[in-house]
Symmetry: C2
Subunit: 336 residues, 2 copies
């Protein structure tokens, strides 16, 4: 069985964008508008269509089996509006993921976004996490380390600000993928400099923190192949050593995992070589940041299964870990 | 001949820090204090000592010949004080580099920092560049894409704000290494998330700009192995293609070059495999961000020459390009 641990619902029916646009219009006239959840006008048939002709079709073409599926990351938009904006939007987005997974229980497993909002405490996010995990069978969450959309105005991931949330995900035994949303800072571009920079920043903040001492069972996934981290593994190992933090691998690799959203053979080969196999989860982020076909290979850039298949060094046991066993271990609530 | 294109004067005698501390004290009482250049109390003997027992010693131990040498990057501190603070400090720092290169003309070639200061125009930087290049034989400069120290409050590198500077470096035919300074933003750590994130951000801003159309002869070096870029070369190629920008390599590789400050074998192997040899410049950033010895290899993490020597795929012609010929071509004012 092949489990893709990183897919977003990027092909939502038009009613979803209409709901969000209505929120934005209300915010235009009153930034403090208090949002009720309301309704999203999307039928089951529309959801079926949006999945069958997109993610499910590509799953089948590529020979993968199950996608761990969450709302579109660039649309989480935690910087938009106020706490009630984010709460209503997030509940709707998570409900849609739940519907997808109810309609296609063999192909998709649900991961939630969180109703974060810059400068607010995480109580609302904890409540939504519990609703999703305990009432609706979600198996993980996406945690945004920068709800300000590129300004990084909130606390570092090592700060006590995040501790109630860490406590809850440890208690529920669900992993958190650290994933920013769309950039609203002029210097950044969402799917390139912002995503990759945020992955590297999140890793660094955690490496320099006591989070894993304080929560030894925490499971954190850094997406997009870990940003710059595996490519600069020697730099990070050396920095940890110079700062007296000891062996980087002992420091973080009981708790941090990297996905395989790296869109060329040499990048995947490096990831597989440098990072222990137990810390790597298969993922493609399909349909996501890069949608084209690489003229050099004749295949989609984001068809990451091909790169893993073609890697010369992996044993079959290692491939099994990356494609299936690691995901089953880390997403312990996944029942397949 | 082996040319290391990226070294900083990180071992300055105590008079340098004393000068900077005196500036900071004056700023504490008056942020608008107007600084005169004044004097740095450092003797030639102190400079000799600081180099002979450090960078020169390591050059000789590692078998490299010439370091392209600039002021300590993390001390540029363009966010500190006002425009006159930065002007006085920068002139002093560049004068010190000039003195090092006069004392050791066979081992060091000078590159200047710039008196940037957030929110000010680049006229002062252009003047200092001309002083350094035309009067003192400097062969390049370090351009800070974020003088705010992590807030990225200035314009993107594609903005017209930077054009007078690009025009001047094109006219003088000197390359610019894009290098941030110390991070003052709480979310960032200078030599890890900030440096690597800034490299990726700078690349992305340039890739999405018209800079190389408008200045086809511009030579830009992205340090630290290009941040996350070569590891994610497929992602960047795919994003360029999806956005209708065409072939990424045609788009940027006439103008952008990467150094080899990647501190492990697998990282260097990826860089050498993915990026055309003509775009790679040997560098170690010695003595810099990582000073320890890798217990796995028994050698310094930043002894990047070893990784290039050990790479299995390079021909001798390619090694010669990386170690020498590319630097001579790009630093066209280098006379050796």
């Amino acid at each position: 069985m092949i489990i893709d641990c990183h897919g977003h619902y990027t092909t939502t029916p038009p009613g979803v964008e209409a709901y969000r646009n209505a929120q934005k219009q209300l915010l235009n006239t009153n930034p403090d508008h208090f949002f009720e959840k309301g309704d999203v006008d999307v039928s089951d048939d529309e959801i079926r269509d949006s999945i069958i002709h997109n993610q499910l079709k590509i799953q089948q073409e590529r020979g993968t089996d199950l996608t761990i599926f969450s709302p579109r990351a660039s649309w989480m938009g935690h910087h938009i509006g106020n706490a009630s904006t984010s709460k209503a939007w997030t509940e709707q987005q998570n409900d849609l993921i739940h519907r997808v997974c109810e309609l296609f229980p063999n192909n998709f497993a649900p991961v939630c976004q969180l109703p974060q909002s810059k400068g607010t405490d995480l109580k609302i996010s904890i409540d939504e996490l519990e609703r999703c995990v305990l009432e609706r069978g979600f198996i993980g969450c996406n945690l945004n380390p920068d709800p300000s959309g590129g300004y990084w105005s909130d606390a570092r991931l090592g700060d006590r600000y995040w501790y109630p949330f860490y406590e809850k995900i440890a208690e529920l035994d669900v992993p958190a993928m650290i994933h920013v949303s769309g950039a609203c800072h002029h210097s950044l571009d969402t799917t390139s400099s912002y995503y990759l920079g945020a992955d590297t920043t999140a890793f660094t903040q955690l490496m320099f923190s006591d989070v894993f001492k304080d929560f030894p069972s925490l499971k954190i996934i850094i997406p997009h192949g870990g940003g710059a981290v595996p490519y600069h593994w020697g730099r990070f190992r050396g920095i940890a050593q110079d700062k007296g933090l000891g062996d980087l691998e002992l420091l973080v690799l009981n708790n941090i995992f990297f996905d395989t959203c790296v869109y060329h053979q040499d990048g995947i080969d490096l990831l597989l070589e440098v990072i222990p196999t137990k810390n790597i989860l298969f993922a493609s982020e399909m349909i996501g940041a890069v949608r084209g076909i690489d003229p050099r290979s004749g295949h989609h850039y984001d068809d990451t299964k091909r790169y893993i298949d073609k890697n010369q060094r992996l044993s079959e046991e290692q491939r099994l870990m990356i494609f299936e066993q690691n995901a089953q271990r880390i997403f312990s609530r996944l029942s397949i």
